[in-house]
């Protein structure tokens, strides 16, 4: 039954809103939330991010698309400093990313991250996975954290798995728990790095549906994905990356139907079904 729990409809109104309430429906005019300026990153001799300038506004849903090795994951990871950058600045809600220590940990708590390989804490139950952050990083009391976790698990349709270990869940269920875990920190922005590409095809939709619902509620999202259905349904803007550069930016419909650059046309011809 889990697989039907999520639909495209707006989520149950009983669930608490994850955002701080500042989200606006008028996305074009929202304040800048994530700002990257002149970001460069090398892995040894390899220049993976080349002078990236990018602004994501409050409530905006940005899809990042591009060929393998173009630097999408690195970009995503740089935004919560799982990867350091060489030059340039990255700011979240007007605050520059701290270098190290507690200030960085605090800022990371405001940036939710969902990984391709879920990365649920393997030694903790589903419920404990979701309550760990609020309890240990925010000091939320146990009972309050558990109540909130159950509401979030319910919202992504895995409430009945709360006491299981991650290894007992399907990939789709694990990824939805991972989304709940990130939401439990009430982040300002959510990063998704190919959240469905490690999933069996029949589980992709249950995860995408949870993400669409989240987008509709006004969560600011940066999503690396090749799922065009998701981009069309939920994205405000598509950014196309190739060789570490942002080659093209456009609203999804425009990007998929009339890409301007050769690189994008070439890429789309390879991933689009004919």
């Amino acid at each position: 039954m889990d697989h039907e729990a999520i639909t495209d409809e707006p989520v149950a109104s009983s669930a608490p809103r994850p955002t701080s309430g500042t989200a606006t429906t008028d996305r074009a005019t929202g304040e800048p939330l994530v700002e990257l300026e002149g970001v460069n990153k090398h892995f040894g001799a390899l220049h993976v991010l080349k002078d990236i300038n990018l602004t994501v506004r409050k409530g905006e849903v940005l899809v990042v698309i591009g060929p393998s090795g173009s630097g999408k994951s690195t970009l995503c990871r740089a935004i919560n400093r799982l990867e350091t950058i060489d030059t340039g600045t990255i700011a979240i809600d007007g605050q520059k990313l701290p270098e190290e220590g507690r200030a960085l940990a605090r800022l990371r708590a405001d940036v939710g991250m969902v990984f391709q390989s879920f990365n649920l804490f393997a030694h903790k139950t589903v419920l404990d996975n979701v309550t760990l952050g609020p309890r240990k990083a925010r000091g939320t009391p146990k009972k309050a954290a558990a109540d909130q976790a159950r509401a979030l698990l319910d919202r992504v349709g895995v409430a009945n798995q709360a006491n299981k270990m991650p290894a007992q869940l399907s990939g789709g269920q694990q990824q939805r728990v991972a989304i709940a875990r990130a939401l439990a920190m009430q982040p300002k922005v959510m990063l998704f790095d190919e959240p469905t590409s490690a999933l069996d095809p029949e589980m992709v939709n249950e995860v995408l549906d949870a993400m669409v619902a989240l987008a509709r509620e006004g969560m600011t999202m940066i999503v690396v994905t090749h799922e065009m259905g998701f981009a069309r349904k939920a994205a405000d803007r598509v950014v196309f990356m190739a060789d570490g550069q942002i080659v093209e930016e456009a609203p999804p419909e425009e990007f998929f139907t009339a890409p301007k650059s050769d690189r994008a046309r070439d890429f789309l011809s390879k991933i689009l079904p004919h």
């Binding site: 799982l82 393997a122 990083a137 290894a167």
Partner: protein, 229 residues
Amino acid sequence: MDDYFAELGELFERFNVVGAFWTNIQLTFWAALIALALGTVLALMRISPIASLRFAGTAYVNVIRNTPLTVIIIFMVLVVWTLFAVTLAPGFNDNFFRLAVIGLAIYHAAFVCEAIRSGVNTVPVGQAEAARAIGLPFLAAARLVILPQAFRGSIAPLGNTLIALLKNSTVAAAGSVSWETASTMRLMIEFRPDHLYLIFFIFALGYVVLVIPIGVVTTWLSDRLAVKR
């Protein structure tokens, strides 16, 4: 034949073999506790984001692991106690015992550190990244996410370290803990060289009996507690 057993009984009355083993068990127990704590701290240092801590942890392990245990034990007695007059207990024997415990712990902490580090390597990097991503600072991520999984992955090498520690506890003889097994065995041989083989056999058997359960228990534990992924 009766004579033989009578002599043996006399030998055991004169020398407290069970007490000697008990001494080594106690040395091992306390040294293991301290080594586990110190080794965990060292492992944390070696995986920490702070370069100077990583360096200090690595230096400790490389220096201590490559120093003979006998040298460390003698150092505890001749330098720490004789030269710097550090006294850990009022009685002579208690003091030597504690110095030996500390020496054993210092030495084996290096091996505990490496055992835990090998356990850390069994934890996928994604676990640490997920912990950092939800805003846990390094120590919280280590304590709540990495070490609990790393310990389960390091039970077998920790068990091997414990076995080595138990056998190495006989080196306490070099630190004047003269009532432990190796010293007792030598006294017994000096007293009854005609029973040489039997005395050897008794002590060897004693260690086998102590060591085998450690291996069995750690193998069982590491299977039982393995993290399912």
